[in-house]
Amino acid sequence: MAKIVVDVMLKPEILDPQGKAVAAALPRLGFTFAKDVRQGKRFEIEVDGEPTAAQLAEVEVAAEKLLSNPVIENFTVRVEK
């Protein structure tokens, strides 16, 4: 069974207060590696069998309409085995 994964991230020019908060918290806990952090969300959609091209196209539409806010967010759709 395969999973269709949709990753949603704020567009690069959009302010990400959550990512900023994480970036500020890391050094307080002694983690000094991060130059910047941006936070997004990930949807894992299970389908029966191998996802078809038509299914993926449908997921694209759903991602645009429901899973993301296209005004401020970008998304990517991929298949995870």
Binding site: P12, E13, L15, P17
Partner: protein, 743 residues
């Protein structure tokens, strides 16, 4: 792309520039060339284009707004007038209050949550910039039909955005409006009001005086958000451009703003700034040019010192960015160390980006190269001014001839059905679904909030001095008669604070209209401004500032003319306020003011799809006498409760009163249908202890206000003549509308 410097502009004078894409007209572009004696650099073009946009320059409205100054009443209460970030009024005991409304309509249509949230953030910074501590917000909102699919997208997002930002700041939301009308579909109105308080000595102004003083940018870093948002979002109708030109919206961070407020107030308290300006629409372009022109005009800014989130931003983009939560201060060199120390304490990013000079040009460099060299007044204040053609639209005479033909209830059954229908209609239904998402009591000083006639906050915990604010617009009346509509809205807002016993003191406004390029819309606007200016003069109330939002239209359909008027008043002791309703039986109910046949523009007519008729005429002399009566009713302890009549007439007022404390009333009315439905302005229902009858009669006679006894309080029903409506049934009708519509 190579850097376009002043030297390049001189060397290459004929390079073609995308002025039209930036929203500038050919003659405006020619004017810039004339001012500079050369073509502008791309950075200068960016600055002029945003600052000369309708939103920033008020180019279509300026000639009309002048009346607020020309017709102004002379009053000592006005400490800072129009032109600064917000007006400031004296409320006594050494306190000054500043308040203002602004629109964030277009951004809230595109991205409801962030659009509304940053609308709140922007107006809060305007108030902070005056040196005041923000103490409360209010939000008049207008949407398309309540059951329209797009309203279901827009309303929950906008309400959540208003609540999200305001709640995080710890500011109580003490009122506003929620109104539905089909003309707002595609053009929702999000108007945000903020009120702040300070001591007289703490007033701050936007000026950059004193050569050698430092220009300091503090707050959030600059990113690519909202680039060109001002000119593109607010100055063009949606249809005229493709999505490619639609820029990224701004995302706000209320926690950064909260820190910025506290940091700024500490800086103000130590008197560390000469002048200050927040960065709102048009960002740094606006802040630098306004600060510089507030002083002698000379300023040098090194743009590469602006801290950026995204290092690939070009200087043009940095100048236009509308990143939120930023402030620009002018600081004397001797005080900069302490300024930086306070910013460090609050963990606020701060950079010195330039200095005030004794010249008269704003010069901006990018890594040493001069990219902007302009007289700042030409950017900030000397924008184009249009005396746009206007003409009374044809509909005005047509609607005036229409006769309102609506069912008028007479029998007990008809009365009951009518009262229940009005109680449940979205424009009059209980708004708790909205206001419960707002924190109304944080800070512990909220005395009144929704569903009271006005919001009221205490500003001194020892003396209990307080201020009350109400915002009102009746777009139905403004549509029929924009001049009277504005005066009626002013009278209603003033009455709404007077019912609690506060005395009106000052006025702000947010004028929402369609395209100024439409002669009919321009006429509506001019008439509204004339009406408001005349009304304020007659009532002796100064206009302290305001905001104009044009281009609220989709295709050829403009929104109803919607001048939202905010009135602020003072109450010397909030504990003595008159509440909006009664909580016990045995009180007498009186109607103050006469009821005439005023169904034109009423909610009942709207519910029957009738837009015509003749709007009432505002009798402001009578309104002022009524206000005096209402204030005296509080100070002389005559009233137990007082509640304004407006949309929905007496029916809506009685519904709200009996449901407030679940105490019924028995009402006897002549000509019952018209008595319940008419929306004659200048009326109030008061509840008094029968022992106060003589005192009330005396006041009414003194103020020449018609007084009619309409009933008594008590019971678990609202009884009107032979019609009996149980409070349970009435509450169900009143409260289930929003829950059903928006879940």
């Amino acid at each position: 792309m190579s850097l376009d410097t002043v030297a390049t502009a001189k060397a290459n004078p004929d390079a073609s520039q995308p002025f039209a894409e930036l929203g500038l007209k050919p003659d405006e572009y020619a004017r810039i060339k004339e001012i500079l004696g050369r073509r502008p650099t791309s950075s200068e073009l960016a600055m002029y284009s945003v600052m000369w946009s309708e939103h920033c320059s008020y180019k279509s409205s300026k000639v009309h707004l002048k009346q607020f100054g020309d017709k102004a009443v002379k009053t000592d209460a006005l400490l800072v007038g129009i032109g600064e970030n917000a007006g400031v009024v004296d409320v006594g005991q050494g306190y000054a209050v500043t308040f203002k409304i602004e629109s964030h309509n277009h951004p809230s249509f595109i991205e409801p949550y962030q659009g509304a949230a940053t609308g709140v953030g922007g107006i809060v910074r305007d108030i902070l910039t005056m040196g005041a501590r923000p103490i409360a917000v209010m939000d008049p909102l207008r949407f398309g039909p309540a059951d329209a699919p797009d309203t279901r997208r827009v309303l929950p997002g906008i309400v959540a955005g208003v609540g999200g930002y305001g709640n995080c700041l710890g500011l109580p939301n003490i009122g506003g409006e929620v109104v539905f009308d089909e003309t707002y579909l595609g053009n929702p109105l999000v108007n945000a009001l903020c009120v702040g308080v300070m001591k007289h000595s703490d007033i701050k102004l936007a000026k950059a005086a004193g050569a050698g003083n430092l220009v300091v940018l503090y707050g959030a870093k600059t990113g690519g958000d909202g680039i060109g948002g001002v000119s593109v979002l607010a100055s063009e109708t949606f249809e005229s451009k493709g999505p490619a030109k639609r820029p990224a919206v701004q995302v706000g961070d209320p926690f950064v703003e909260k820190v910025l407020i506290e940091c700024s107030l500490e800086i103000f308290a130590e008197d560390l700034v000469v002048g200050i300006q927040d960065l709102g629409g048009a960002g740094l372009s606006c802040a630098t040019s306004e600060l510089a022109s507030g002083g002698s005009g000379g300023m040098k800014v090194q743009l590469e010192k602006v801290p950026v989130r995204d290092p690939s931003l070009s200087p043009e983009e940095i100048l236009m960015s509308e990143s939120q939560e930023r402030m620009c201060a002018i600081v004397e060199p001797s005080k900069i160390a302490r300024f930086l120390e306070i910013c460090a304490k609050w963990d606020v990013t701060v950079n010195v980006i330039g200095e005030v000079t004794d010249g008269n040009h704003l010069e901006i460099t990018w890594n040493g190269e001069l990219i902007v060299d302009v007289p700042p007044r030409t950017v900030a204040h000397d924008g184009p001014v249009y005396n746009r053609p206007m003409a009374q639209p044809a509909y005005i005479n047509e609607v005036a001839k229409q006769v309102i033909n609506v069912p008028i209830p007479a029998t007990a059954d008809e009365i009951k059905v009518t009262v229940l229908k009005l109680a449940a209609t979205p424009n009059l239904a209980d708004k708790s679904w909205v206001t419960d998402q707002y924190d109304r009591y944080v800070q512990g000083n909220s005395i009144q909030a929704q569903p009271d006639d006005s919001g009221m906050v205490r500003i001194d915990e020892k003396t209990h001095l307080g201020v009350a604010i109400a915002t009102d617009a009746n777009a139905n009346w403004s549509y029929l008669n924009p001049y009277e509509g504005a005066r009626l809205a002013l009278a209603e807002a003033a009455r709404n604070i007077a019912t609690a016993g506060a005395k009106p003191l000052a006025v702000t406004n947010c004028l929402n209209f369609g395209s100024p390029e439409d002669t009919g819309v321009m006429w509506q606007f001019a008439e509204s401004v004339r009406g408001l200016a005349d009304g304020c003069l007659e009532m002796g109330l100064p206009v302290t500032g305001g905001n104009v939002s044009f281009y609220n239209q989709t295709g050829a359909v403009a929104i109803l003319p919607t001048p939202v008027i905010g009135v602020l008043g003072v109450i010397d002791d909030v504990r003595t306020r008159t509440p909006m309703s009664f909580d016990r039986a045995g009180l007498d109910l009186y109607l103050l003011g006469e009821t005439e046949d005023h169904l034109a523009g009423s909610e009942w007519a709207y519910m029957h799809n009738q837009r015509g008729g003749v709007a009432p005429t505002a009798n402001l002399q009578r309104e002022m006498r009524l206000i005096d009566l209402l204030v005296a009713g509080r100070t002389k302890k005559i009233f137990t409760a007082a509640h304004d009549l407006s949309q929905g007439g007496l029916s809506a007022t009685l519904t709200e009163m009996v449901l407030r404390h679940n105490t019924g009333a028995t009402i006897q009315l002549d000509n019952v249908g018209m008595a319940l439905l008419s929306e004659t302005p200048g009326r109030v229902v008061v509840a008094i202890d029968p022992a106060q009858t003589a005192a009330l009669t005396q006041e009414a006679v003194t103020q020449k206000i018609v007084l009619t006894k309409i009933g008594v309080t008590g019971g678990d029903s609202l009884v009107i003549n032979d019609a009996k409506i149980s409070l349970v049934e009435l509450r169900k009708a009143h409260t289930e509308t929003f829950a059903k519509l928006f879940g």
